[in-house]
């Protein structure tokens, strides 16, 4: 049924037809680990210089990939070792010259040494396009993985990751990144440095906020954020104009304005500092105590690009509900220097139709007197 070898496969999680050299499936559900010599002997017997795909599952491997694999199948492009109980890949991978797809899901990888040393110099570092390590035991993204500079698609779904390393930006060809079902609490802004990223899955994690830099992912078409701990999104998310899919369910998103809020007005020191900065009143270190000079240096520009104001400690956060793509009403966080700072806001709707039922009570009107500081516990 399967074409011999087949062309270069698209990334398809589809059930695949019988592969080029599929081993006999074990009758029992939990088979005994295969003694390596037996498997090695069988693979050696079926060696082929032309075979491009090899599926080892659902065999149970007792050790790393058998030595000799690269000699018996030198033309291997696709290797599927999913569900084999692998605890370490082994060094044989380093000798495969044309491997572009490695599927190793549902194994026991995750400990130190799961990926072989010397990956950086191996042909794999340039040839590998697709890597699926979902359903393993990784508690961190192994640094060796970041050597795979040609990687287009990476899945680490269903592992035990607590974070994403900033060096993920090294995988600059990445288009597809699946990190759903982990324990990730935060997203590093460096993730936004992946220029080709089209599909980003972060569902079923523990993420509390999205860095605004994520809006720099210009190629992003699909963003999966459902089942996290988000209460709001940064308003920059509207800049993702190519976004077709956005999942947000199962987050404790703010739905309504929290009306009863105490607004803490800025201190006299803050007001004085603002005046000095916005009016460019000159001062020298000899004019002021050191502590105040330091204080003045901490002025931040109001995030509203149309306001020339600054603020020090007292910054108003405001949530506006915006139609996104004509369908969603997202709570987006605005930062403003004061309630009087008006924030003209254009919703980046793609479609001209908006929700038929407009809930004016929830909708944030720009009127300055309604801006309130929102406390998000």
């Amino acid at each position: 049924m399967a074409a011999a070898g087949g062309g270069s496969p698209e990334l398809e999680p589809a059930p695949e037809p019988a592969m080029e050299l599929e081993s006999e499936p074990e009758p029992e559900s939990e088979p005994e680990p295969e003694p390596e010599p037996a498997l090695a002997a069988e693979l050696a017997a079926r060696r082929s210089a032309e075979a491009r795909r090899l599926v080892l599952s659902p065999r149970r491997l007792s050790g790393p990939l058998p030595a000799g694999l690269s000699q018996w199948f030198p033309a291997l492009e696709v290797l599927d070792v999913s569900g084999t109980g692998l605890t370490e890949m082994g060094t044989e991978l380093l000798s495969l010259p044309c491997l572009h797809t490695l599927l190793a899901k549902n194994n026991r990888l995750g400990g130190p040494g799961s990926l072989p040393k010397g990956l950086e110099q191996a042909p794999l570092a340039r040839s590998l396009r697709v890597l699926n390590l979902s359903g393993n035991r990784f508690s961190e993204v192994p640094p060796a993985l970041l050597q795979l500079r040609g990687l287009r698609s990476l899945s680490l779904g269903g592992n035990r990751l607590h974070g994403i390393p900033p060096d993920i930006q090294e995988l600059h060809s990445l288009e597809f990144l699946y990190l759903g079902g982990n324990f990730i609490t935060a997203i590093p802004p460096e993730l936004a440095k992946l220029p080709s990223l089209r599909y980003l899955v972060l569902c079923d994690n523990k993420i509390q906020s999205i860095p605004p830099q994520l809006a720099q992912l210009h190629s992003l078409r699909s963003l999966s954020l459902h089942n996290n701990l988000l209460t709001y999104l940064p308003r920059e998310i509207l800049n993702l104009v190519h976004l077709d899919e956005l999942s947000l369910r199962g987050n404790p998103l703010v739905v309504r304005f929290v009306r009863d809020l105490t607004y803490n007005p800025p201190s006299l020191q803050e007001l004085a500092g603002r005046t000095i900065k916005t009016r460019n009143i000159p001062y020298a270190p000899s004019d002021l105590p050191e502590s105040l000079v330091r204080y003045l240096s901490l002025a931040s520009n109001c995030p509203n690009p149309k306001c020339g104001g600054v603020y020090f400690d007292s910054c108003v956060r405001q949530i506006k509900f915006v139609d996104f793509c004509g369908k969603y009403r997202l709570p987006l966080m605005h930062y403003l220097c004061s309630p009087e700072c008006s924030s003209p806001f254009s919703s980046a709707s793609q479609s001209s139709t908006s929700q038929s039922e407009s809930d004016s009570e929830d909708e944030a009107s720009v009127a300055a007197h309604r801006m309130q500081k929102v406390l998000l516990g």
């Binding site: 999680p13 699946y178 599909y199 976004l243």
Partner: protein, 205 residues
């Protein structure tokens, strides 16, 4: 059209082709029994070789692949769900909906209809995980549902029968109960990929 019939057959579909043939037979009658159709769908033991040609996956979202258009009486289609793919909460436009799992697992969450002026979180009625070869049934009088592949490692494939056929439905925002009418399209028909104009953002919640 669907009521308790005079007689109920116990069918066994031994292949997908046979399933389609028996469905045509059943739906040629004036009266069709929900139980009969559900039992028939459940009797078919999923054989990937028979439906692989319809199982076209998309990277970004689940796909709907038409298998048979039932002489206008029903639509039979295969849905392909990548890891983490799910549907919005939706209704069924006064039609009957049967959903059988062909591969993997799907979680079905049932919701109550929101109040007229829906302005609060929608009420969950129940949820369950459907296993391979199980067949679920729903219609608008039962409620609304969300279907999702909650696996991060396995894709899922399901076989759906809708009668009468429909191509629009309402999707619901879980947080507010607001509804929004959408048009559904086919990713492929009879095994052939259908390329249609995109640019319409896809509702996923």
């Amino acid at each position: 059209m669907m009521e308790q019939p005079v007689q109920t057959e116990t069918w066994k579909a031994r292949s997908l082709e046979e399933l389609v043939r028996i469905l045509h037979q059943i739906f040629a009658e004036d009266k069709v029994s929900v139980d009969e159709v559900q039992a028939l769908m459940e009797s078919y033991e999923s054989n990937p070789e028979e439906w692989l040609q319809y199982a076209k996956f998309d990277q970004y979202r689940y796909t709907r692949n038409l298998v048979d258009n039932g002489n206008g009486k029903f639509n039979l289609m295969i849905l392909c769900w990548g890891e983490g793919h799910g549907s919005s909460i939706h209704d069924h436009t006064d039609s009957h909906c049967f959903m059988k799992i062909l591969q993997g697992n799907l979680k079905e969450t049932l919701f109550e209809w929101p109040e007229k002026k829906g302005n609060g979180e929608m009420t969950k009625k129940s949820e369950r995980v459907l296993r391979e070869n199980q067949c679920a049934y729903i219609n608008d009088s039962i409620g609304l549902h969300r279907v999702e592949n909650i696996s991060h490692t396995e894709p899922a494939v399901s076989l759906h029968l809708y009668s009468p056929p429909f191509n629009t439905c309402n999707t619901f925002d879980q947080r507010t109960g607001h509804k929004h009418k959408v048009t559904m399209t086919f990713y492929s028909q009879f095994g052939e990929r259908t390329v249609c104009a995109t640019g319409v953002p896809q509702e996923n919640n």
